[in-house]
Subunit: 204 residues, 2 copies
DNA sequence: CTTCAAAAATGAACGAACTCAATTATTTTC
DNA sequence: GAAAATAATTGAGTTCGTTCATTTTTGAAG
């Protein structure tokens, strides 16, 4: 049976996540103080730190939920990918990018990326890194699936290529969030151009 | 004629850079307080902020000097690259990695990378980003040079491929600095494996 | 229903990056 | 060379994330 403690803990975790992600979007991650979050979630500052290790850890929890949705999108695409390497990659990657910005600002992404590099050992930093690996696996799986369908040449190392493609799409996403002026279409065009020679080389 | 002010400014900038990079290496970036740097450089805290925008900006100034040396190494290699794509890339990338760790700890790299993402508008953050672009150009130039020498197929878009290769080597370097247990040989092997299919596909 | 131990909540206190109004040093002007 | 203008220095003060000793709440045992 779930005791009062357990229920309260779940309730408060949810409340912190909801109110803080709302605040982050409204006024920006940097402008929100722990005190603001505590006030909005109706807890004390000390209690906040019973639920999340740091302010950054909270952000990564929020961002991780978003990446999970991105990963789910990928799963549906992999079930029936376009029968063309360039097009399949563009659809997967474009989907990643689109989903990434529904609830999160560029500032939130910048901060999240920075934290996973600087503090990779925190609870949700680890979670985020795991999700990144899952997305890498997904890109590799797409190439493997296209290989199975005889769209990609059979002698290609899809694991190695997939890792390279993911690292590139991720690096370009970082460029994108670093530059407030850069738009999603520009990002997609840029990555498509980079993937073009690869796609051509590995296609049957 | 150089006035007293100009000379003092140059002298102090040098002094801050010297003492702080020594401190960063000795006790770690995180453990050094601005107050420590000010004391070591014989200035006040306020004066420190006349010379560098933030603590992170100072770190990026130090790291940038290092990246300049990495870039210089690349220039010498490009003058006479190995006549084999995989080997040429391994030599360039391996050289980058080796030079990167002579004076800088993994912690310093982690922090530096994090800052360029989170605060890309600071003076030395911009400098660092420029240097990154110069390294990208260098990788592209290597591929172009190999193409000129008929080692790389003439129909290859060396710009696009070079960007992908750089983004990948950079992403792997981030993985490397995030993981204290990862060694340089492991990093090199990993990237060589990733580059192998690319090298095979674009070779004449 | 009490008692007690364990878990959770609390907010004042701490530490460190950064700021700014006042002071001091240098350069320019007459 | 004195005075005015400009630039640089200073360190106490502010802000905000984080900690921790204390108090309060919860669940179990008798």
């Amino acid at each position: 049976m779930t005791g009062l403690r357990e229920r309260q803990k779940a309730h408060r975790t949810r409340r912190i996540l909801e109110t803080s992600s709302q605040l982050f979007r409204q006024v920006g991650y940097g402008a929100v103080r722990i005190d603001d979050i505590a006030r909005a979630a109706e807890i004390s500052v000390g209690t906040f730190y019973n639920y999340f290790e740091t302010k950054g850890d909270l952000l990564l929890a929020i961002v991780s939920m978003e990446v999970e949705e991105v990963h789910d999108f990928g799963k549906t695409l992999l079930a029936d990918p376009p029968a063309d390497v360039a097009r399949a990659l563009a659809r997967l990657i474009g989907g990643y990018y689109d989903h990434s910005l529904v609830y999160l600002s560029k500032e939130m992404w910048r901060t999240a990326m920075a934290i996973t590099i600087e503090a990779p050992a925190t609870r949700f930093s680890t979670r985020f890194t795991d999700l990144d690996r899952m997305l890498t696996d997904q890109v590799c799986a797409l190439l493997a699936e296209l290989q199975r369908r005889a769209v990609v040449r059979p002698d290609i190392d899809t694991r190695a290529l997939g890792e390279v493609v993911f690292n590139n799409l991720n690096a370009m996403f970082i460029e994108f969030v670093k530059d407030d002026a850069m738009t999603l279409p520009q990002l997609n065009d840029c990555v498509a151009r980079q993937n073009a020679p690869l796609a051509a080389l590995i296609s049957c």
